[in-house]
Amino acid sequence: MTSKDSKAFLGQIAAVGADRAAKSLSKLLRIPVSIAKPASAVLMSLDEVGPYLNAEASGDGLALCLTVLGDLEGKVLITFSSADISRVCRVIPRLPEDAGPEHPMVRSALLEMCNILASSFMSSIAEFTNLDYLACPPEMAIDMLDAIIISVLADQLSTEQVVFIDTELVIEVEPFQGKILYFPARPATENLLSLKGGSL
């Protein structure tokens, strides 16, 4: 299996996860949510990940991170640009008006949204691949997205090349876009690709 085939397979897996995540977010927010572009698998060096993300969302951003253990061990990140933070706060039901992510109820809602969204994404991948995972409590960070990525991945991925799955959701009633990024750890990547007899 070539690297191109491996990426295509991971992209296929991501599409399954993105579809269920979009449905879950729509149910949580009670508004339509769609997938902005086909989910894809990206292979690049760790140094390139931040600039890749910042190219689409410059400046500070917000990242919600769910660590997963088991066969699918890795990190799931839900990221928004700084401009989208207030928009996402507006669409979450029952939050105080004009409250930002520092507000305890907004923070709690964002973390719960991360938990639900990332769990939907991962559970669908787990069912599709018959691999298991266990979710840890979610965490939140506000900083430059590349700094967040480096910080989140520093303890886990020391290899030169990282593979990650990139999906983008759109909330149709607001000009809002959010990314779901799944960074499988090396053993999880191997578990996923071994299903198709491939490697990176």
Binding site: R20, K27, P104, A109, L111, E112, A135, P137
Partner: protein
């Protein structure tokens, strides 16, 4: 009016559940943000039903189910969990929880689940 104890580490989910259940005629007896608090509040408030998150700090929902059932073997506990925690849900049911709902839930779904326990 049935009394409910809401247990979830997320303040937002507790707020949403309080609103849904109050709107459907339940009295919110209290709330707890981890398993230890849940057991203490159960003893203190003697609710008719408990909604219980699974993944929580200090003491998780499964352990709290066991401790509450040790206090009252007939306690009615419904688990609320995010998708993909089927193994943990199964453990909760084995521990004695009566039913479960998956987040995000429709308000009607949680109400139906609770009402079915009093049918």
């Amino acid at each position: 009016m049935k009394k409910v104890l809401i247990v979830d580490d997320a303040a937002y989910m507790r707020m949403m559940l309080k609103e849904i259940l109050s709107d459907h005629g339940y009295e919110i007896a209290g709330e707890a943000e981890n398993g230890i608090e849940a057991v203490e509040k159960y003893q203190e408030l003697q609710p008719d039903i408990v909604t219980m998150d699974i993944t929580m700090p200090e003491m998780d929902g499964i352990e709290a189910v066991k401790k509450i059932l040790a206090i009252n073997a007939h306690a009615k506990i419904v688990m609320c969990s995010a998708m993909g925690q089927q193994n943990l849900v199964m453990k909760s049911l084995e521990a004695g929880a009566r039913d479960f709902v998956v987040k995000p839930f429709e308000p009607e779904r949680i109400v139906q689940t609770l009402e079915s326990l009093f049918a």
